[in-house]
């Protein structure tokens, strides 16, 4: 197992390197020069060249990349060009907020999707199955930002209630802190729930047709035991794989939801940084997100062994 994880990590390195190159080069291609912007909006330096030199933007691209990579390995993500604060410090403050939102969204998704998926599978081709499948496709089709907009808008019009815009820290008021995540996490989880439900139904249907399941029925076991104990565990393997992909999608979704609901997390940080062409921040956030996704996929692989004892590493 340990050796397998180590090997998997080695395979992940080239992908991470290519990703880091993408992370590094993308913001540098942004039109409109950050230096120009800074000079115009905040009188930072005397002239353009002076400021460029100060930021290290006047050297060749590949040297900048190697230097940046060296810094990253030492745990230094640079500092924001605008606020002059270290990116790592800012990320450490914001990552927990995004993780909290993402984890809750994923939890909502799984809690809603798996039971519905199981139900749809064991009642295949009934009216309930059709209804649940149509709901799932609808869930994949409705844009989250629209539901979020309506959830802010309609209660305000009908009852004069709107979700809190001011962020509440955990230390200030644990309950209010927790409550402010409920609505955005639920909406963020809808699309993932739909995808997970469809997959759960599909794989469970396949497993239910296996011989060993027929044996279980023939032994006179109750439906609950056959479905939940014998079948569901094997059906969950592809579902767990998809969870890794869903984490990436949910992290992407935080960009929209943190902006709508006023949560000072990583997604909003990235969105603001893109608007301000803040290279170190864009790179830092992107790199962190990619690392989280790669780590998640590693965890997913390791989790297989728990679900399917036949898999040995």
């Amino acid at each position: 197992m340990k050796r397998y994880v180590f090997r998997r990590l080695l395979v992940a390195i080239p992908s991470l390197l290519i990703a880091s190159l993408i992370v590094f080069s993308l913001p540098r291609l942004l039109p409109g020069d950050v230096v120009q912007l800074m000079l115009e909006e905040k009188a930072y330096g005397k002239d353009l060249e002076d400021l460029r030199a100060k930021l290290g933007l006047n050297r060749p691209m590949h040297i900048q990349y190697v230097e940046w990579l060296g810094q990253v390995v030492r745990g230094d993500l640079g500092e924001s060009l605008w606020t002059r604060r270290p990116v790592l410090e800012e990320l450490a403050r914001r990552l927990p907020i995004s993780l909290e939102l993402g984890m809750m969204a994923l939890a909502f998704a799984v809690v809603i999707a798996v039971p519905i998926g199981v139900l749809a599978a064991i009642r295949q081709d009934t009216l309930a199955d059709y209804a649940m499948r149509s709901m799932a496709i609808l869930g994949l089709s409705v844009p989250g930002f629209w539901i979020a907009t309506l959830c802010v808008l309609l209660p305000a019009i009908w009852w004069g209630w709107s979700p809190p815009i001011q962020f509440t820290a955990f230390s200030a008021n644990p309950w209010a802190h927790f409550a402010q995540f409920l609505l955005p996490a639920f909406i963020l989880g809808i699309a993932s729930a739909a995808a997970i439900m469809r997959l759960t139904r599909g794989t469970l249907l396949e497993v239910l047709r296996q011989d060993y399941v027929r044996t279980a029925w023939a032994k006179g076991m109750r439906e609950r035991v056959v479905v939940l104990k014998h079948s569901l565990k094997n059906a969950m393997i592809p579902v767990v794989t998809v969870l890794g992909i869903q984490v990436a999608q949910i992290l992407g979704g935080t960009v929209i939801f943190e902006s709508i609901f006023g949560l000072p997390g990583m997604g909003r940080f990235l969105f603001d940084a893109i608007n301000q062409r803040d290279y170190p921040v864009i790179q830092g956030v992107n790199l962190l997100i990619v690392s989280v996704v790669v780590l998640m996929n590693l965890l997913v692989d390791a989790f297989y062994a728990f679900l399917d004892p036949r898999i040995r590493y």
Partner: protein, 312 residues
Amino acid sequence: MRSDQIEVAPWGDRTINKSGSPNRIAVLIASTWQFTKRKPLGALGGVIVLGLLIMAIFASWIAPYKYDETIAGARMKAPGAQFWMGTDNLGRDVFSRVVYGASVSVTVGFGAVLLANVLAALVGVTSGYFGGAYDICVQRVVDAWQSFPFLVVILSMMAVLGPGMLNLILALGVLGAAAGSRVIRGATISVMQNTYVEAARALGAGHLRIMVRYLLPNVAATIIILATIGLGAAILAESALSFLGFGVPPPYPSWGAMLSGSGRSFMYRAPWMAIWPGAAISLAVFGFNMLGDALRDVLDPRLRGGGGRPVG
């Protein structure tokens, strides 16, 4: 396979194909009818998609006003006989803007999917066919692209390219190609197991000929399914990006952009400004997903699972 399904497949029957165009139309109608009977929800999706296409193509005939026409004295009018979906804060007819919005969505959607599938087929078929070091290198690059959350990477790309319809098509197309190429590569590898590929090689067919004449037609079903489901995903992504201000710039009536921007603060007094564009996005994507799902079940059941890519 059930016996009635075998009768349905019109493509294999040479006598029908040879005998000229009237029969072809009859076959088309017959197979559409069979599809409707077997997959009523898919047919519903097809009807929605057809409606969307008609709206997009004939927008200037259907819409009572131009998309950027300001109607004097009609700011934030509630939906009624004159303005079916009300008017916005600048006195523009929301229904007309929703109708014109269809052409934005359809243009971006079809453009992006066309680009994505051409690239994906190119990368996927060659990667699967040649294998070896080339395959490994290409797949590592695809891995790297795929470890970015979709919205994050597309946002970064749009920031680089700048807002605009063509740039949007480029970004969505390139990104969609990465995911699609993986699926097409898989399909290519499985098609290559067939003996007719070996036979073609034995007869002296070159790489290009094998790929174009033998592999590509046999992964076509996969590509059609990918494209249909991809259309829904592309429309959803376009709306999310336009919502964030990185998509189609105003005054173009993109459905996503209609939900954001300066109009947002007026929505409390005119909620119809928020309701209809979102409903249009949902319905359009729903149609493509339904149709794609049904097509997949009919054409290639191996691809089950997955589905449209959730964004935001």
